[in-house]
């Protein structure tokens, strides 16, 4: 079990958290493609936290119950997502992006939980299990 809370404040943090995530995923035994999926999901959510959440933090750790996996928790105290349903649908963006950050991250991982309320920020938990 390893756990680290890393800041996600600016663009250079995006690169460092995703390389941290990739290393952890590789050490946990994930294959090349899954490493890529996990790193990409981290990148999408980290960018969301920086661009929309006004910066936040991320916890990346390996988890183990009856199966082994990786868990990533993003927290920010930004404005929150007003229309969560729409944001999850994909193709929706408030800053002229591709609008696939959230929905894309969801598709790349095995589990995806999001809680967000206007004015109180957003928490996203994603997990992927070793097959």
């Amino acid at each position: 079990m390893s756990e680290d809370k890393l800041p996600v404040k600016n663009e250079s943090d995006i690169i460092s958290v995703r390389s941290f995530g990739r290393n952890l995923a590789a050490n946990a035994g994930f294959g090349i493609v899954d490493q890529c999926r996990i790193t990409t999901a981290i990148s999408e959510l980290a960018r969301n936290a920086v661009v929309h959440g006004g910066g936040g933090s991320v916890t990346i750790k390996t988890i183990q119950n009856d199966k082994k996996g990786i868990e990533i928790i993003f927290r920010d105290e930004g404005p929150g997502i007003v229309n969560l349903e729409l944001a999850l649908k994909g193709g929706y963006s408030t800053v002229g992006g591709l609008g696939i950050g959230l929905s894309g991250a969801k598709r790349l991982m095995d589990e995806f939980q999001i809680t967000s309320s206007a004015g109180k920020g957003t928490t996203v938990i994603i997990r992927k299990w070793l097959k």
Binding site: V33, T39, R47, G97, R107
Partner: protein, 126 residues
Amino acid sequence: MEIPILKIEDFLIVSFQTELSDDEIDKLREDILDKIKETNARGLIIDITALKIVDSFMARSLSSIATTATLLGAKTVVVGMQPAVALTLVELGLRIKWNIQTALNLERGINLLREALKSEKDVVYE
């Protein structure tokens, strides 16, 4: 950091060697477009063999570089994408937005551009 933009024949070649931050990508886009104007390049090859990850921001940047470069007269080819990256991009949901010409490696990319330019010349000069 400075990323070299090389010129061969009528083409420009840009090779991504490390992961770039969003700012660096934006800067690189400017550099590439300037260089196309400056050299009157007819083609642009972006080599991403070394990239282990292409997220939606990077994909969007590549796409916009390709579109703008084409507008400036340089046909763009992205070469060397890793299998894991391609699969991840498809799963990310980029199926509609990705409309960039691709080739397996630098050599194929150059051949592709040569072919395209040759047929153009045929029409214009004969």
